[in-house]
């Protein structure tokens, strides 16, 4: 992790401004702002359908055919990715920007050896010869801690365990030392002992390669241990953003508080004989549009106004909370500043 306040002062490496994405008849991301500083890890958290994966796919311009970017800028290294041509995007992806997914088997080509798949990226972007690319692929397998890389390089993906496949995906993603890596639930399909290995690897590569990481996850433990900053999403909106330390010490948005309270915990956790888990009533209904706050139908602290007026994200110090009542009753409400120039 890096010093989060220093990260906030640096100009962002990557920024989404007012991103709106929809699938036919269904808005999925609704006016999202997000910035990522060089070398930092930002976690995007939320439950299924909140738009966190769609945000990453849109940012990479990898949306499926039916998805559309309706509005917003995707600023990266002085360019707006939202308006780049397919050829320009192909040049950037894999070289400056990369992405890994939950299920590596669906992204790996089953009929090609893993060596070929790593080498391909190097040949395309770095114009290496086949021989040089193969040598570099072996180094990359070693970098992602695959034992006996000389032997493994000629294996097909099905010969590898789930954890090893994810390491291969990571090797492909970092082959050209990208500045930014989107990792969409990279360890969700893996066993817990393997998850720890892969998260540790990602964090080490981030540090060693000076790469920023956008970690998309539903796992609050992963967020707490690996992210510098957290963006909590609900129904396509950013509901809260804070440094990891602040978010866990003092979650403000009722949804963030609900999520933290609902998850059973291994450390300070409750046993069923001692009490019930805190529930968030109802279920997310990402598709339905409410005039007011999207979380209002499930919010235990809902007020009449919440159902009518969309909540403006308000700044408290360097955090943002899209819930005016929560901000007003925050313990450090007197320290609130910049509410007037908050991002609208």
């Amino acid at each position: 992790m890096i010093d989060p306040t220093a990260a906030a002062r640096r100009p962002p490496l990557f920024a989404l401004e007012g991103l709106e994405v929809s699938f036919p008849g269904r808005p999925v991301v609704r006016g999202l702002d997000l910035s990522v500083a060089e070398g930092e890890t930002v976690a995007l958290v939320g439950e299924s359908g909140c738009g966190k994966s769609t945000t990453a796919l849109a940012a990479m311009r990898l949306l499926p055919r039916s998805g559309r970017i309706d509005a917003g800028r995707i600023a990266f290294e002085g360019r707006d990715l939202a308006v780049l041509s397919p050829a320009e995007l192909r040049d950037l992806r894999g070289r400056r920007l990369a992405m890994i997914f939950q299920e590596p088997m669906t992204s790996l080509n089953p009929v090609l050896t893993i060596g070929r798949q790593i080498a391909e990226v190097l040949i395309r972007h770095e114009h290496l010869s086949r021989r040089a690319a193969r040598a570099r692929a072996i180094e990359l397998l070693d970098l992602v801690r695959i034992a006996e890389p000389h032997r493994r390089i000629d294996d097909h993906p099905h010969r590898l365990s789930g954890g090893m496949r994810q390491r291969v995906m990571i090797a492909i993603a970092v082959a050209c030392r990208p500045k930014l890596l989107f990792a969409d639930e990279p360890t969700t399909a893996l066993d817990v002992t393997i998850q720890a290995q892969v998260l540790d690897l990602l964090d080490r590569l981030r540090r060693d390669l000076g790469m920023a990481l956008v970690l998309i996850t539903h796992d609050l433990g992963v967020v707490a241990q690996y992210a510098d900053r957290v963006v909590v999403m609900y129904a396509g909106h950013k509901v809260e953003e804070a440094t990891t330390a602040e978010l866990f010490a003092r979650p403000l948005h009722p949804y963030t508080r609900g999520l933290l309270a609902a998850a059973p915990r291994l450390d300070t956790g409750l046993h069923h004989s001692e009490g019930r888990l805190a529930e968030i009533p109802g279920a997310p209904d990402g598709g339905v549009d409410h005039p007011g706050c999207a979380f209002a139908p499930r919010c235990p602290e809902v007020r009449a106004d919440c159902r009518v007026t969309p909540p403006r994200p308000l700044a408290i110090g360097d955090r943002l909370v899209a819930c005016p009542p929560a901000v007003a009753s925050a313990p450090r409400a007197n320290a609130m500043r910049g509410a007037h120039d908050a991002v609208g």
Partner: protein, 309 residues
Amino acid sequence: MLSVEGLEVRYAHRDGALRAVDGVDLTVGRGETVGLVGESGCGKSTLGKAILRLVEPIGGRVAIDGVDVAGLKGDRLLAFRRRVQFVFQDPYASLNPRRTIGEILDGALAVHRLGDRPTRRHRVREILDRVGLPADAVDRLPHEFSGGQRQRIGIARALVLSPDLIVLDEPVSALDVSIQAQILNLLVDLKREFGLAYLFVSHDLSVVRYIADRVLVMYLGRIVECADHHVLFGEPRHPYTRALVDAVPLPDPRRPRAAIVAGDIPSAARPPSGCRFHPRCPLAIGRCADEVPSMREIAPGHAVACHLA
């Protein structure tokens, strides 16, 4: 109530027989929740299924109230199947997509010849209400429900038969955190209300820590540790249990990061000799590679299969 001794299940595999469950003993008492944890390929799901003979064990004994299940036929087999129910991770895959929820639950009652039509209809409505489904669910099809509601349907189908024991296979693993809490609370309420026992199979240690009274840890087909919930999570003695507990990232940034256990999980088709965890174990000594450690009680109710425990 349920006792399992020396249970063995094998699957055919290209490298020979895969010992998915390799000599497992366990008991579940009346009203007790036993958690069964482990990583993929450890055989925990197969074990759950073998108890109900959804997969056929090749060895060992499963008994309910002292009666061996293997010998049961006809009505007595049917009675066993009513008493011990199963809930799947993905209830949708186990629900007939063309039958309404009412028909599915009524069908379960009819197979077991429980009540006439009006009694069954009343019972179905009562159970749907109890698991928190709307009354109009009886006339709706499975695809009309969300993931959390489908799991309520899966629970209702098990519950409608008034079982004594429900084997739950990863019942909340596919659900979002907020929905997961609702289902776990429901399971706890139902257990109290109906005196149910659960065998709760899961890879998620945090969930098991909440729900289980007693916990079994499985690795490559064998139980490696078994203890009361607070002992197992508070003072785990098997190095694998410790590795599992330490690998879970805690939702508290002030806590140190997870300790990392090296190595991949070996294939269950070619398990390591001796203690199956020895190639990954930080404490392994020569003996661990040669000699299979047996389960040894180190304190009342706390058993560990480790030469060094």
